[in-house]
């Protein structure tokens, strides 16, 4: 399983505890829960390479607006995308909670996405995930391919391919 580098020690404990709580039978899937505005989203942990703090992003001219630029991740140059802009939300406000999640893409190497906050890792059984079909008109939901029920909370599960796919 992939290692998740979590940066503040508080967060780390929190993640571990929450992972322990959810011991559910059946096929288990782990999701990293992120916060975007008031909504919670989940990203399949298998696609996550790393989570890093917000850092200085080098702007690349003449590219799509959601493409914020590139960062240096241990000697690799990684493009970074604003998930908010990509999903049609208001632009990011960087806070101390802002994180960049490094996703592994199928074809184009690693890609960073900027999220408001990383909250925890949850383990969901397959039975507590409701698959969703896309409604092409709704630009926001097309990034979501399922809803996970974690206790009383609902988590929108992000479709990696939709995030990493280039749009114009």
């Amino acid at each position: 399983m992939d290692q998740i580098a979590v940066l503040n020690s508080d967060g780390k404990n929190e993640l571990r505890n929450s992972a322990k709580k959810n011991v559910i039978a059946g096929t288990l899937l782990q999701y990293i829960v992120i916060k975007m505005g008031e909504e919670q989203y989940g990203i399949d942990i298998r696609y996550v390479d790393n989570i890093v703090r917000m850092q200085n992003i080098t702007r690349v001219p003449k590219v799509q607006a959601y493409l914020k630029g590139v960062i240096n991740l241990r000697g690799e140059v990684i493009p970074v995308v604003s998930l908010r802009l990509k999903m049609g939300l208001p632009a990011d406000e960087y806070t101390k909670n802002t994180r960049i999640i490094i996703l592994k893409t199928e074809t184009a190497g690693n890609l960073g996405i900027i999220v408001d906050e990383v909250r925890e890792v949850v383990t969901l059984g397959e039975d507590s995930i409701e698959k969703m079909t896309h409604e092409p008109k709704d630009s926001k939901t097309s990034f979501v391919n399922g809803i996970g029920k974690n206790g009383g909370e609902l988590i929108s599960l992000l479709d990696r391919n939709a995030i990493t796919l280039e749009t114009n």
Binding site: R59, V60, P61, V63, V77, P79, T107
Partner: protein, 698 residues
């Protein structure tokens, strides 16, 4: 046996052997008597056969086997090298290359048996040996008694004494058959004596070995080269006896035939008293007998001579280790990180204003170490262009035949080294240029004579290092480029209008040649004239960050100059600031840096230009290009003058940081980067800076 793990090595080595064969056979064509070359060819063919056999590629093995047979006969002096033979051999090499390519793509050699080729090879063998036999027969007729000679039929070289002749005659009378046999053991065989022993044993189970040369004792003690000769008495048919011997492993070949006693040396009918006439003859054989002996002693001497020679004459091949290029890339990345770490130390030391000289010394030391380390890692990636250009002499030879023009290729600087990735890509463009020179450049022999030139055209391929670049020149002493013809063609094709043509400089006209599907060849040949050549050359070279240039003089020839960067991974750059962002510009494209007053900027066709020492240079405001607010407030502008070929432009930047060696990193496939950003690099402080491609701005 699972051989898939050896496939890569097999392919690599096969290619090497094929290349070697190509070169050596070319040499053989020029100097058909050179024993070193022949030996080298034989060795390469032999290893090829062995390798193909081990890997289970039967067709390839068969073909190489037959080639080897031919070489072996050449080596033994039984066949003279003929031009037709060279042609057949080259065709064989092409077939082998096809096998190799098939194997590379599908791990299967394909189904082409190349029977015509194998037949041609056998024809060479048969025809030549037959032709050789004839004079031999004549020779035999001349001095029938001596009857020596046949290099294959060595059994006639054995001097039989009376008792042996007697036994043979007795055996014949009693209905048994007497054969002369020659058994050759494979060169690679280690236990020759053991193999020979097995042959002896197999034959003795079914017959009797009358005579052995060298003697059985010598054979047992391995005192023989590779073959030994037997005279066998047996009831079996010849083929069966040969099979007995050939079934022993590591036996290369067994030849034999019923022994004709009259042909053996020293033969005289036992019962006959020497007649007076024969007495005179008897002295003659004695005299002749001396000769073969001398020859025999001379032959081994010559042999040891040739066998030592290749050792000395063989090119000294450096001991090499094959390394996966990915592993090198990893090493390279580590070095890059080390450089970055070093850079951050350097900038940290600058920040702290720490003047302790010890600290600075250590940093300088680290700097020199990383620089050296970097250089040596780069060098590991460098390979001589030889691997690419060594196939060209063969190509020119073939072209010379297909085009029916006489030409010679002269190459220098094959040892010039380039980055592996560049070397792999440079082959095609060079091939296009050479073909172009051969087909369009050189005139045919008649015309050359009329013009007072050497009827044999010359094509030169020179490679050398020039600063941070490697230059490869393809030059011919042919007709040069007929700019008028190019102009006409371009007008005809509608590429330019006649008016435009009027005002075009010679150079601009020549540049037309690089346009896609432009060809001035009057007829499309196999070789060129389809108009796909030169634009491919140009785009390929440019994709390698290189450039190609032509100089031509009508009637005297043309020179094509390819200029390539030594390496693609690390470059010297000038760091500049635009609107608070740092950008790197490759030093290679920078000509000068100028301070220009804002008031000096003029407008021409609504575009900003400056007049710099008599040159009108268009300006590009980088902040506008990069969509960023300029922070420069001065009236005095900093202009970086960049140049590519004849094109020149001035880039207005906010500030200069200085010269820096940077490691080029890709922006990744995700960013469909704009044309003028050629990549990124990581600075000493860990930040990413983009690299401006000045060539794309022009």
């Amino acid at each position: 046996m699972d051989v898939s793990q050896y496939l890569e090595i097999f392919l690599d080595e096969t290619k090497e052997h094929l290349q070697n064969l190509n070169t050596q056979i070319l040499e053989l064509e020029a100097d058909s008597e050179n024993m070193d070359t022949i030996n080298e060819i034989f060795r390469a063919a032999h290893s090829l056969k062995g390798m193909a056999g081990t890997m289970g590629y039967k067709r390839m093995q068969n073909l190489t086997h037959d080639m080897e047979n031919v070489f072996s006969e050449v080596r033994n002096g039984n066949i003279k090298v003929q031009p037709e033979m060279i042609d057949v051999l080259f065709q064989c090499l092409d077939a082998l290359e096809e096998y190799t390519n098939n194997i590379q793509q599908t791990t299967d050699e394909g189904t082409n048996d190349n029977e015509p080729l194998i037949k041609m090879l056998n024809d060479i063998l048969n025809k030549e040996t037959a032709a050789k036999e004839e004079p031999k027969a004549e020779a035999k007729a001349e001095n029938a008694d001596a009857g020596t000679g046949g290099s294959d039929k060595k059994w006639y070289d054995i001097a039989l004494d009376d008792s042996q002749i007697h036994v043979i005659e007795e055996a014949k009378k009693s209905g048994q058959k007497v054969y002369g046999m020659n058994v050759t053991i494979q060169e690679s065989c280690i236990l020759k004596a053991a193999r020979a022993f097995l042959v002896f044993k197999a034959i003795e189970e079914n017959g009797e070995i009358l005579v052995s040369n060298p003697s059985a004792q010598d054979v047992e003690d391995e005192k023989f080269d590779r073959d030994f000769t037997l005279i066998v008495v047996s009831e079996l048919e010849l083929d069966d006896v040969i099979k007995l011997a050939a079934d022993v492993s590591e036996i290369e070949k067994v030849i034999g035939e019923p022994l004709a006693l009259e042909k053996t040396k020293n033969y005289r009918p036992l019962d006959d008293e020497p007649a007076p006439a024969a007495a005179a003859e008897k002295t003659k054989p004695a005299a002749v007998e001396e000769k073969p002996k001398q020859q025999q002693t001379a032959a081994p001497a010559a042999k040891s001579g040739t066998e030592k020679k290749p050792a000395a004459g063989k090119p000294v091949v450096n001991r090499t280790v094959r390394v996966d290029i990915e592993k090198l890339d990893v090493l390279m990345n580590l070095v890059s990180e080390l450089i970055i770490a070093k850079n951050s130390l350097v900038s940290a030391s600058g920040l702290e204003q720490n003047n302790s000289s010890g600290f600075n010394e250590q940093i300088e030391y680290l700097e020199s170490v990383t620089t050296n380390l970097h250089e040596s890692v780069m060098k590991v990636r460098m390979v001589p262009i030889e691997s690419v250009v060594s196939k060209f002499p063969r190509m020119i030879r073939d072209l010379s035949k297909t085009l029916n023009k006489k030409m010679e290729l002269y190459m220098t600087g094959e040892e010039t080294e380039l980055d592996r990735t560049v070397v792999d890509e440079i082959g095609d463009p060079l091939m296009h240029l050479l073909r172009n020179s051969a087909d369009h450049g050189l005139e045919d022999a008649e015309l050359r004579k009329q013009r007072g030139k050497n009827p044999v055209g010359s094509i030169f391929l020179d490679a050398y290092q020039d600063g941070n670049n490697v230059v490869i020149e393809v030059r011919d002493d042919g007709n040069g480029i007929d700019t008028e013809a190019v102009k006409q063609k371009a007008i005809e094709r509608g590429t330019i209008t006649p008016e435009q043509a009027e005002n075009m400089s010679e150079k601009e006209i020549i540049d037309l040649l690089f346009l896609p599907s432009f060809s001035t060849a009057k007829k499309v040949t196999d070789v060129s004239g389809r108009g796909v050549g030169l634009d491919v050359v140009k785009s390929k070279i440019e994709s390698l960050s290189g450039e190609v240039e032509v100089k031509s003089k009508l009637g005297e020839g043309s020179t094509w100059t390819i200029r390539l960067p030594l390496t693609l991974a690390i470059i010297q750059t000038l760091m500049v600031v635009v609107g608070g962002e740092k950008y790197a510009i490759s030093l290679g494209s920078i000509q000068t840096i100028e301070n220009v007053m804002a008031s000096d900027i003029k407008l021409v066709e609504n575009k900003e230009v400056i007049n710099l020492r008599g040159m009108v240079i268009p300006l590009i405001r980088m902040n506008e290009l990069l969509d960023i607010e300029s922070k420069a407030t001065d009236d005095s502008l900093i202009v970086v003058i960049v140049k590519k070929g004849d094109k020149i432009a001035g880039l207005i930047v906010d500030d200069l940081i200085g010269q820096q060696e940077i490691v080029i990193k890709s922006l990744g496939a995700y960013i469909k980067q704009c044309k003028f950003i050629s990549g990124a690099t990581i600075l000493g402080d860990g930040e990413v800076a983009l690299i401006l491609d000045a060539n794309a701005l022009l």
